[in-house]
Symmetry: C2
Subunit: 322 residues, 2 copies
């Protein structure tokens, strides 16, 4: 799947992923009216609204991009009906040929991690049948529980030819509270010194180790990492620590990062990273820059925002000779 | 909700929670037959089987225990039908008067964490209606993303009078990979020293800070912690670092810990901790000790295992004068 993702990035010349994180405040009134008329002001009505919203956006942008990243929390808040819309979104995007990264940030231990990996990337045995749960192509994974939590995902990826992105350095303001703490690492007995470095570097090293045996034909592993665009300097270091990890980069646009913050995440061939934007694309029509589209044409605004984002990254990479 | 949990622990004299983590291999053939005859060897059939399995166990043990802890991964692996069984289980246990701890280990940032907190503990606005998603009483939360990730859960808990348990030191073998790393903490300028301690202690301190303002009438906060029974010495230290945090303790039974490992988690009034057992209870009939019950009476075996677990903890606490 990492090869499919890279092939699609090359074909579209767009190292970006659109976060399908629909909040009710992004959904235009006309769509809400259709959905609520059909299903009421209920969880079912909300779920219908976000599905219709997603579909209109996907129909307008699918030819420009390699991948989408639905954030499951935005669906889960609407209970079972919301998760049915998550499933419809995953299935529809796959039909459209898009790679689907399930932003689920799951992580547990042993048989529980096996169950999560199965839910999102694998197949489950029921009697004599093999059944598929949500069936994304990639999932995001939380590493706090260590190898016990991550290994089951890697095993399922190997079996199913899928991939994961492990949280290393997240894009939020307080990510440093734990992730930036200096931890003691190796003891150098000869010089009687103990090296120390931030926790995220240690996690990055683990990601590199976990992924080392699972390299696709393009030179990148199917065990990738999440590193926030809001921390470009840390991104530069992590790019070196994890040379074969594809990096999923959140934080562009609404969270404050721009093209110039991204250049260190990419290799000389403009590969190695895929940059996410969520509300910057799907709610572009609510941004001053795109307000001329109006809420009626919210999906056209999203298309223009995709084109502008690709151009911004292209320009930034060109300016550093990549 | 922390007060309700404590009241129920006092009433049942059972500081335990039963993990409703149904795997297909635990479900007796007769239940699978009923479910598959009804819905086929499909996700729906599996979901029906685990629901019937849960219901029979809950009916047999609900009078003995204060709380259940369904592990959502075990349902999520069966996709939407599985999550419908999760919802049925949550609703049924609440009807039976049990406190429901959703073991979801969610954690993200900002609006995404708000969405997760809403999904499991809160209410979501749809038009002019307020709707409830999964509606558990407590949820487990992953702290790797820092305060940004945790605060939205605390806010929802405050609004809804619910609670959380934050992962501090998990019960698995590789939990130490990151959680045990020594991190630099405070600089003592006067003595020119820098204190250092394991990451889990730092997380524990944060849990204590986060929960400090939200203390119930029994003296415990609705911001609790998860600390594995498999690490009793760390539990002793964390009990002191987080004196007001109720501790959810996994790792008893199948994972190897027994009553004597638990004594440091409790205060002098036998409060402050609630010990989980999952397969040790729900799959007791597969254990040599309870095999005389047979698969037909799997729920009776579960009841006996609950009684034995309560006695084991009681004896251990008595032996240390608690």
């Amino acid at each position: 799947m990492i090869d499919k993702l890279i092939d699609k990035i090359k074909a579209t010349k767009a190292p970006i992923v659109v976060g399908l994180d629909p909040m009710m405040k992004f959904v235009p009134e006309r769509i809400k009216k259709v959905a609520f008329d059909l299903k009421g002001e209920t969880l079912e009505g909300a779920a219908e609204a976000i599905w219709l919203f997603n579909k209109e956006i996907v129909d307008k942008i699918y030819d420009l991009i390699p991948a989408v990243k639905p954030q499951i929390a935005m669906y889960e808040q609407f209970g079972i009906p919301g998760l049915i819309s998550f499933q419809r979104t995953v299935d529809y995007c796959k039909q459209k040929g898009l790679v689907v990264i399930g932003d689920v940030k799951r992580g547990d231990i042993g048989s529980t991690s096996v169950a999560y990996a199965t839910a999102h990337l694998g197949k489950v045995q029921v009697g004599n049948s093999l059944c598929t749960g949500f069936g994304e192509d990639f999932a995001t994974v939380n590493p706090y529980l260590g190898t016990d939590g991550v290994q089951p995902f890697i095993d399922v990826c190997k079996e199913e030819k899928k991939g994961i992105f492990i949280l290393v350095k997240t894009s939020n303001a307080s990510s440093g509270e734990f992730q930036d703490r200096l931890v003691k690492s190796e003891v150098d007995a000869e010089n009687n010194t103990i090296s120390e470095r931030p926790l995220y570097e240690l996690v990055g090293e683990k990601v590199a180790q976990w992924g080392d045996q699972f390299i696709g034909s393009n030179g990148y592993s199917y065990v990738g990492a999440v590193v926030g665009a809001t921390y470009p300097e840390q991104g530069r270091i992590l790019r070196q620590i994890m040379p074969k990890a594809f990096i999923l980069v959140p934080g562009y646009g609404a969270q404050g990062a721009s093209g110039k913050d991204l250049v260190h995440f990419f290799d000389e061939n403009r590969l190695g990273a895929i940059v996410n934007s969520s509300r910057g694309i799907i709610a572009a029509y609510q941004n001053d820059k795109y307000k001329q589209f109006g809420s009626a044409n919210f999906a056209d605004a999203a298309r223009q925002a995709v084109i502008d984002m690709v151009a911004d990254i292209d320009q930034a990479l060109t300016s550093v000779g990549k």
